[in-house]
């Protein structure tokens, strides 16, 4: 069933421009698995838990056979009981371990919001710094094949609102490994939201362990005319949109946020200062989602540079429908980004950007 099995067939967009014989290309799932493997071998306090982490599909391949290498004490299946098990992971972290708790889908994290939001995110602050919770929670946003309303929610908009949580959304194989290693090394609760479509990709991943700083974004393509801001799988769409737009002579800058919280404000504001035009794109719902925060940030701190409205490309505000004809209408991507950019770049000619209205 294509729903649960995605073959890593495509090369990811060539973000890194790495060349030479050292350019090792591996699938997305393998990049995560390698990070876990290295973390497990480097730190005896790291452990991996979650429904099916030890099963034949090994969490889409990301945890495959790690239980055989590290034993069922350090890589273990759990009962469903998501709130209880999250609390147990929090407690284990308080007790000095570094749990990595895997979930198929962010939808299931809704059962664990009490432990994530009321407990994990607050424990350090609430006790004046006395205790910390080095916990990683990982979940993979579903998409396609009728995953439907309860199996394809992109809930970054919720987690971005919670102080005390870090929120990480990798877009490349390189980052999937490097951000996983940083998240495990972090002394705070970190949510990693993956996207199912990233698992279609293969990309460049160095063999040795490395970390990518949490709280820093990266420019995937420099440009002068407009800034496209995205995270996770939407970065691929934005990048491809930028390539498409360049055919029309529109030079778009593509920002990959990498982490949503802390957010790399400086990177965003510097880019906006240069381009004066922004499209924010996300895999989640529009209203109250991450595109809202990024847009509001710019409207607050980057207003002086703005030469056009800030447009948001996101999913319409309905639960994910099951049927494929509806799914097609539901998901935004390259097309919607290109359209939004074209709308804004028309503004270029006008002398006074403020006067512009959009239909």
């Amino acid at each position: 069933m294509p729903w649960s099995k995605i073959k890593p067939e495509l090369n990811e967009p060539d973000f890194n421009n790495v060349t030479g014989k050292d350019k090792r290309i591996i699938p997305y799932a393998d990049a995560i698995r390698e990070a876990l493997d290295q973390a497990l071998s480097l730190d005896a306090n790291v452990f991996v838990m979650g429904q099916g982490v030890d099963d034949p599909s090994g969490m889409f391949g990301a945890t495959l056979n790690l239980h055989e290498k590290y034993g069922k004490k350090r890589v273990f299946d759990t009962p469903l009981a998501e709130n209880g098990l999250t609390g147990i992971a929090v407690g284990a972290a308080i007790g000095g371990m570094r749990p990595v708790y895997f979930h198929n889908r962010p939808d299931f994290l809704l059962l664990a919001m009490d432990q994530i939001v009321n407990h994990a995110s607050k424990w350090h602050y609430m006790f004046g710094g006395a205790v910390n919770v080095p916990l990683v929670i990982w979940a993979c946003i579903g998409r396609g094949w009728g995953s439907a309303a309860q199996h394809s929610q992109a809930l970054q908009g919720l987690f971005m609102h919670i102080p005390g949580l870090k929120l990480v959304m990798p877009a490349t194989c390189y980052d999937a490994k490097g951000l996983m290693l940083s998240s495990i090394a972090d002394n705070n609760p970190v949510i990693i939201l993956e996207h199912r479509y990233n698992f279609r990709h293969k990309g460049f991943v160095p063999k040795e362990p490395y970390r990518i700083p949490i709280g820093k974004g990266i420019i995937r393509k420099p440009g002068e005319d407009i800034t496209i801001i995205a995270a996770s799988y939407m970065v691929s769409e934005a990048y491809n949109a930028a390539l498409e737009l360049s055919k029309d002579g529109i030079d778009a800058e593509v920002i990959d946020l990498r982490t949503l919280r802390p957010l790399d404000e400086e990177l965003i504001l510097t880019s906006v200062k240069k381009t004066g035009r922004v499209v924010v794109a996300d895999t989640g719902w529009k209203t109250g989602g991450i595109t809202a925060e990024i847009s509001a940030l710019i409207a607050e701190k980057g207003f002086a540079s703005l030469r056009a409205p800030i447009l948001r490309v996101a999913c319409p505000d309905v639960p994910t429908p099951a049927g494929y004809t509806l799914e097609e209408a539901f998901y935004a991507g390259i097309l919607e980004i290109v359209t939004a950019v074209r709308k804004l770049v028309k503004c270029k000619e006008r002398a006074d950007a403020k006067k512009i209205t959009l239909k």
Binding site: P79, A148, A322, G323
Partner: protein, 323 residues
């Protein structure tokens, strides 16, 4: 308990029809025309049928991701089921739900959740509605051993006992949540659930024997209709197919081919059929007639589905809110 021939044949027919529907779905799934994740209930038909044979169309059921059997046993429209799998506008959920989200309010099927355990409290709440409206109905909650890992089960049962609600918990213990055995996830056979016989009627039955299920459910339903409160019935069974999608998953190696084979030999449909034949309650001819009827109905349902229009993307915002 004595069963009329009519009842026995009805039970057989219903199981056979569910089985054949599942097999047809399974055989066509590779065509990728049903773009929806499927969870077949092959081997568990006796539970849906044995329970629902005691219900009428005003009774409620609450189901899960593995819900084709519940839907059909309760009287849900076969055409609308298949159309939903084909993501058509004519599907029971108008193509919004897919295989895991079936509904047919005309027969008390108020929608199934694919959040494991999600239907347990909602089914309990439907019993609360019955109770408050003083209706002579019951609410049946079908859930699996994975769902029994969730604390919400105990929250729900506790409340149902306090309020003496007409709810019947049908625990379909097919021994697996995906590839994870119940014995690896639960401390013991019945550590928490089904432990309160003073508080509710509890019973463990062979979930592959439709008459056992039927009898236990009958008692539970009678009690519920009489205002005697909730019941809990554990039906021991086995998931012979893979967790999701079509076909066997024996090659994955997390369970032995022998184990699967053992349970296949306990097939609730075949074994029951053999019994009926042995007792002379059915003939090979009658079985063939039944099969023909069923095949025709299924053919027609698939045709209906395939010929039905697809929902239009431009209507995607419809049904967000009820007026």
């Amino acid at each position: 308990m004595k069963f009329s021939q009519e009842t026995l044949l009805r039970l057989y027919y219903d199981m056979f029809r569910i089985r054949k529907t599942q097999l047809r779905i399974e055989s066509l799934y590779h065509l990728d025309e049903m773009k929806t994740p499927i969870h077949l209930c092959i081997g568990q038909e006796a539970i849906a049928v044995g329970v629902c044979a005691n219900l009428n169309k005003y009774d409620y059921i609450s189901s899960s991701h593995r819900g084709h059997g519940h839907y059909l046993a309760k009287g849900g429209d076969l055409k609308k089921l298949i159309a939903e799998l084909y993501c058509r506008e004519t599907g029971c959920s108008k193509g919004h739900g897919g295989s895991m989200h079936l509904v047919d309010t005309s027969i008390g099927h108020m929608g199934s959740s694919s959040i494991v355990g999600g239907g347990i409290p909602t089914g309990t709440g439907m019993a609360l509605a019955i109770h408050m409206k003083k209706q002579n109905c019951v609410s049946v909650v079908f859930f699996g051993d994975g769902a029994a890992d969730e604390g919400v089960l105990y929250e729900s049962i506790n409340f149902a006992i306090i309020k003496k609600l007409p709810v019947i918990y049908i625990y379909e213990n097919n021994q697996f949540s995906v590839c994870s055995r119940v014995s690896a996830r639960q401390a013991g056979e019945v550590v928490f659930h089904a432990v309160a016989p003073e508080y509710m009627f509890t019973k463990t039955v062979d979930g592959n024997t439709v008459l056992e299920v039927y009898e236990a459910a009958r008692e539970a339903v009678l009690r519920a209709r009489n205002g005697q409160g909730p019941s809990f019935i554990e039906c021991k069974t086995y998931r012979v197919r893979g967790h999701a999608g079509a076909g066997s998953d024996a090659k994955l190696g997390y369970r032995s081919a022998e184990e699967i084979g053992f349970w296949e030999s306990k097939c609730p449909v075949t074994v029951f059929c053999e019994e009926l034949l042995k007792k002379g309650l059915i003939t090979q001819n009658e079985i063939q007639d039944m099969e023909q009827d069923i095949d025709l109905e299924i053919d027609e349902a698939f045709r209906f589905a395939q010929e039905s229009p697809l929902p239009k993307g431009e209507h995607i915002l419809q049904y967000l809110f009820s007026e």
